[in-house]
């Protein structure tokens, strides 16, 4: 059985390489390199989702939220310093708000523990809710003046001008911290509740980033995001993009190797055991809830790093540019099609799906323009003017259809999970 698996993997990758070569020829190097670089970043995100979904069986429908918060983190760290902001008294006000939030938060957490000292649960919950609301109101009052000042004179708080690589890591940490909070609330619940909770949090993160103008310039977007390698303006598109691609390739290889080592190790075995049967795992001494939280955090850290790389490549931090279809469901289909539980499968899925996703745009345009021409000649019906934008929607339909086809005919994916065997 092992041989056919190797052959299958090799043949699939060869087929993919052939398709990419064709695209290089058809669309030219710059376009193809851009596609590959973006596919590379999405492969990292797919690896992160595979850790949550393939290893631990946690269904995360809020990948967009984790990518967004990580991209914000990376922008915050790597964007050049905004001197005007630091001279104004805004940092002082923000500090005051931070202190208020810290004290309020501490009081709330303390109150939520007092039921251990004989205080009845009902009063404990009431006090905790009141404390939380009070903290929220105080923070709101402290924030509004500060935000006002920042927006008036310095635009937004700007970044810290640190190296981009550090930015990506900090972005990953932001996503991991967000995952920790959601995980604490929802991990005890069934998988479709986790799906709903993560779907919700993604929309909330997007709404926050879109409206916190003092932090992210909101809909005015922040650009140009600094690149870890010389940008296109300095060395031309092809060189810049191939350099960026090589960095993402290196990242993919590192993450892949580490995750592969984890897969067959005691840690990976424990995770697969928990995924298969939580009751039995608990009975052999595994703290299931803590471990699931650990997986959710690690998975989303990797999603964060990949997301930060993706948005940095785009060069613009535009909160309203995060769409569930492009960021959550596209990655989901990459892992499901590639093969959940198989890291190589996730990488392959990422490349294949992204090729289909990008190529379906020019293909649809050609198809529709011919169709419209034929329609006009035969029936004399004038095609709608925004034909191009509509052709784009064809991709959304194709991705939706692919999900159904995969679930029906290849539920385990093209490169299914490899059973770990010891000869």
């Amino acid at each position: 059985m092992k041989a056919t698996m190797e052959l299958r993997t090799a043949s699939l990758f060869v087929f993919l390489a052939g398709v990419v070569a064709l695209i290089f020829i058809w669309q030219g190097n710059a376009y193809a390199l851009r596609m590959l670089a973006e596919a590379g970043c999405l492969a990292i995100v797919a690896l992160g989702l595979n850790v949550q979904w393939g290893y631990a069986g946690l269904f995360n429908a809020g990948i967009m939220g984790f990518i967004a918060i990580a991209a914000f983190g990376s922008m915050l760290v790597s964007y050049p310093v905004n001197p005007v902001f630091w001279q104004s008294e805004a940092p002082g006000l923000l500090l005051r708000m931070g202190v208020v939030v810290l004290i309020g938060g501490a009081v709330t957490v303390l109150l939520s523990r007092i039921h251990r000292y004989g205080v009845p649960r009902r009063i404990r919950t009431l006090l905790t809710v009141i404390a939380a609301l009070a903290t929220y109101m105080m923070a709101q009052n402290a924030l509004t003046p500060a935000a006002g000042i920042i927006e008036q004179n310095s635009g937004f708080i700007g970044g810290f001008g640190l190296p981009v690589g550090l930015g990506w890591l900090v972005g990953g940490v932001f996503a991991a911290v967000l995952a920790w909070f959601i995980g604490r609330i929802t991990l005890g619940l069934r998988s479709d509740y986790l799906a709903i909770a993560t779907l919700g949090i993604a929309e909330i993160v997007k709404a926050f980033l879109k409206n916190a103008d003092w932090l992210t310039r909101g809909t005015l977007t922040v650009s140009p995001l600094p690149w870890p390698v010389p940008t296109a303006s300095e060395v031309g598109f092809v060189a810049a993009r191939s350099a960026y691609l090589s960095i993402t390739a290196v990242l993919i290889v590192i993450i892949y190797l580490l995750l592969q080592r984890g897969w067959a190790s005691p840690w990976g075995r424990m995770m697969r055991a928990i995924r298969d049967n939580e009751l039995a795992a608990e009975a052999v001494g595994k703290n299931v809830n803590r471990r699931l939280l650990e997986m959710f955090v690690i998975g989303n850290f990797i999603v964060g790093v990949g997301g930060a790389a993706l948005i940095t490549f785009g060069g613009i931090f535009d909160p309203s540019g995060f769409l569930p279809i492009n960021h959550t469901f596209l990655v989901l289909i990459m892992v499901v099609l590639g093969g959940s539980g198989n890291n190589l499968g996730s990488i392959f899925g990422a490349l294949l799906v992204y090729v289909i996703w990008t190529m379906s745009e020019p293909a649809a345009l050609i198809l529709f323009s011919h169709g419209a021409g034929w329609l006009r000649d035969v029936f004399g019906i004038a095609p709608p003017d925004d034909l191009a934008t509509r052709a784009l929607q064809m991709r959304v339909f194709v991705i939706g259809l692919t999900i159904i086809l995969v679930l029906r005919f290849a539920p385990k994916g093209l490169l299914p999970e490899k059973i770990v065997k010891y000869e």
Binding site: K286, I419, K421, Y422
Partner: protein, 282 residues
């Protein structure tokens, strides 16, 4: 038949008031459990002495399953305390009980379906579960050493249970009986101080039942492993267990060797269907 070496127990220390007699391995004191209006267990106390194979029997609705699940950490009692090895373990979750040396099997075998039989055993890495991704990635040496010892032990347990021929087979595809044996293998891997067997005879044919019983007897005889068995199959209880505790209507009715229990008119009546004889002119 050598049974692999023993790992040091690492039970989280909890308070143990002075003066508690340490003879009994498991002690249940005045435990009750209420589900809504139904009082499943009513102020019940029992002991499982060290080194014995103690049986727990009783007609349906006697509360024995509820009592068994409370000792196994599935849920906490409404009132009363449970002691393991002299430590108060009331309400302690199953994974912490495992670290105190308590292992259990399930009435319907619970296997890790996508892992092979060998890996099902290797999941049990000893009392403290310290697997970490960091070690797997950066401390290869430690991981390889640990893996080797766990794997050797797992291979031995497979040999004892005569499952070596399915070592690379996914546990999900094994037969019902093999899954039961594999579960017993997981218990052996953990080197517990006490094993809770939950209806081990359920859905198992005679020959396999014989194997299971002999493995239990060997572990008890050679390693002094204590067993707490809940079972319907009276012949298996008679073969394995001494003493036998009989529960009825939520509390312990009587305790003693099976030969006496079998002849005790009260027990027969409890099983055969107590309450007023509501006769009918036939």
């Amino acid at each position: 038949m050598g049974i692999p070496g023993k790992w040091p127990a690492a039970c989280p220390t909890t308070n143990n008031p002075v003066g508690v007699a340490l003879t009994a391995l498991i002690e249940v004191r005045n435990v009750s459990k209420r589900f809504g209006q139904v009082l499943a267990v009513d102020n019940c106390s029992l002991k499982v002495e060290r080194g014995t194979i103690t049986g727990l029997i009783g007609p349906n609705g006697a509360g024995k399953t509820t009592m068994f699940n409370m000792v196994a950490g599935a849920f906490a009692p409404t009132s009363g305390t449970i002691w393991l090895n002299g430590k108060n373990v009331t309400g302690m979750p199953a994974h912490e009980l495992f670290e105190c040396g308590l292992s259990r099997t399930f009435q319907i075998a619970q296997e890790f379906s996508s892992l092979t039989a060998l890996e099902n055993l290797m999941v049990v890495t000893g009392p403290r579960s310290e697997e970490s991704l960091f070690d797997a990635c950066f401390r290869r040496g430690k991981v390889v050493r640990d893996e080797l010892s766990v794997r050797r032990k797992a291979e031995e347990v497979l040999k004892v249970l005569r499952l070596t021929h399915v070592r690379n087979e996914c546990a999900g595809n094994l037969s019902g009986g093999q899954k039961k044996l594999l579960e017993l293998g997981r218990v052996m891997m953990a080197d517990p101080t006490v094993v809770l067997l939950d209806e081990v005879a359920a859905g198992v044919n005679r020959t396999l039942l014989n194997d299971l019983a002999s493995v239990v007897e060997t572990l008890n005889r050679e390693r002094g492993l204590t067993f707490f068995v809940i079972e319907h199959d009276m012949d298996l209880i008679a073969r394995l267990c001494d003493p036998v505790i009989v529960m009825a209507a939520g509390t312990v009715m009587v305790q003693g060797p099976m030969a006496e229990i079998r002849k005790n008119p009260e027990v027969i009546e409890a099983y055969f269907g107590g309450g007023t004889a509501m006769g009918r002119a036939s």
